[in-house]
């Protein structure tokens, strides 16, 4: 029984570290997303071994069911441009920053290890209730003590959805860089002299928006 739980922990830990390595060191973002999926699944397994059954279910639903799928949708929407080519500009500064962070992080891990070694044998963990980490306990706490942050998180998600739609949709008739401008290395310049009376004033100036859309080679069809 003890050996089984130890084997479970180490296999989940190995898979989690492999998933994190896959996220960081894959060339293809699809493989990074698959590494993230592996990490999420093994962290859900570790949650189960820590008596957090409801959190394991939430982890599977939210991360594996929504976040990874959203990443995959965006990667497939971007197509082959999602894979960035490998040039070496600025590689030394990036390697310096990453190396410094890694050294500091592993030094912190060493401090944790030495602190644990000085304390002698670790204290045995107490036995949890049968209701610990279950959905009943979570519901009782979420709707009594954690009610205010729970409602605030629903407001946060609402605002995030509205913001995501507003940012991803963009303005109608927005000018983007065309292919020839990209090849000649031109930088982004604002749309040619259209009198915007406000940031979102495209309803009031429909004719001007149409004129911009016809001259500025939009890369997407207007929705309306």
């Amino acid at each position: 029984m003890i050996g089984l739980s130890i084997a479970y922990f180490y296999s989940c830990a190995l898979l989690a570290v492999l998933g994190a390595l896959g996220v960081v060191f894959s060339k293809n973002p699809i493989r990074s997303a698959m590494g993230l999926l592996l990490l999420i699944l093994s962290v859900a397994g570790l949650f189960l071994s820590l008596h957090a059954q409801f959190l394991a279910a939430v982890q599977l639903i939210v991360y594996a069911g929504a976040v990874v799928i959203l990443f995959l949708f965006v990667i497939m929407l971007l197509g082959p441009t999602a894979v960035t080519s490998n040039d070496h500009s600025g590689r030394w500064s990036r390697a310096f920053g990453g190396g410094l962070f890694a050294i500091a992080g592993f030094a912190a891990i060493g401090v944790v290890r030495s602190a644990g070694a000085g304390a002698g044998a670790p204290a045995p963990l107490g036995a949890p209730d049968s209701a610990f980490g279950g959905i009943g306990a979570f519901g009782d706490i979420l709707f009594s003590d954690a009610l205010v942050p729970f409602e605030l998180s629903s407001a946060l998600l609402m605002v995030a959805v509205v913001g995501a739609v507003a940012v991803a949709r963009g303005r109608q008739g927005e000018r983007t860089l065309s292919k020839s401008e990209l090849e000649t290395g031109a930088t982004f310049s604002p749309a040619p002299e259209v009198a915007h009376s406000g940031v979102f004033s495209h309803e009031s100036s429909g004719a001007q928006t149409l004129a911009v859309a016809s001259t500025a080679t939009p890369t997407e069809d207007p929705v309306r």
Binding site: V23, L36, I109, F132, D140, L157
Partner: protein, 111 residues
């Protein structure tokens, strides 16, 4: 039973890997995924500490053992979902503007 220090060390290894990916990788999508990796590591540490420090709760609605770390991890998951939605929208907007997802091509505000 696995001592809680093992979970903490595993969580810090995963956190360091995620931070390394965020600093080193230039693909914006991979940087967002590295943020997810770091948040997962934090969640693991929170849940492990909650398991290690079981105490009687002081709530009237739930008199059982305290769930503070797990509740915190729950809210971290909610915030993280919002962050991914907004972040991917920004990535799409950046791609529409510059036709690339490299983070060093995003210099539209540079003089």
């Amino acid at each position: 039973m696995i001592p809680v220090g093992h979970y903490i060390i595993l969580s810090s290894v995963i956190f360091v890997l995620g931070g390394l990916g965020f600093l080193v990788r230039r693909n914006v999508l991979v940087a967002l995924m590295s943020i997810d990796v770091m948040l997962n590591a934090v969640n693991l540490a929170l849940v492990a500490f909650n398991r290690a420090h079981l105490r009687a709760g002081r709530l009237q609605a739930y008199p059982g053992q305290s769930h503070t770390g797990q509740i915190f991890a729950f809210f971290v998951i909610a915030v993280e979902a919002a962050e991914v939605a907004v972040g991917l929208a920004i990535v799409l907007s950046l791609f529409r503007l510059t036709r690339t997802v490299r983070s060093d091509e995003a210099h539209l505000l540079r003089n």
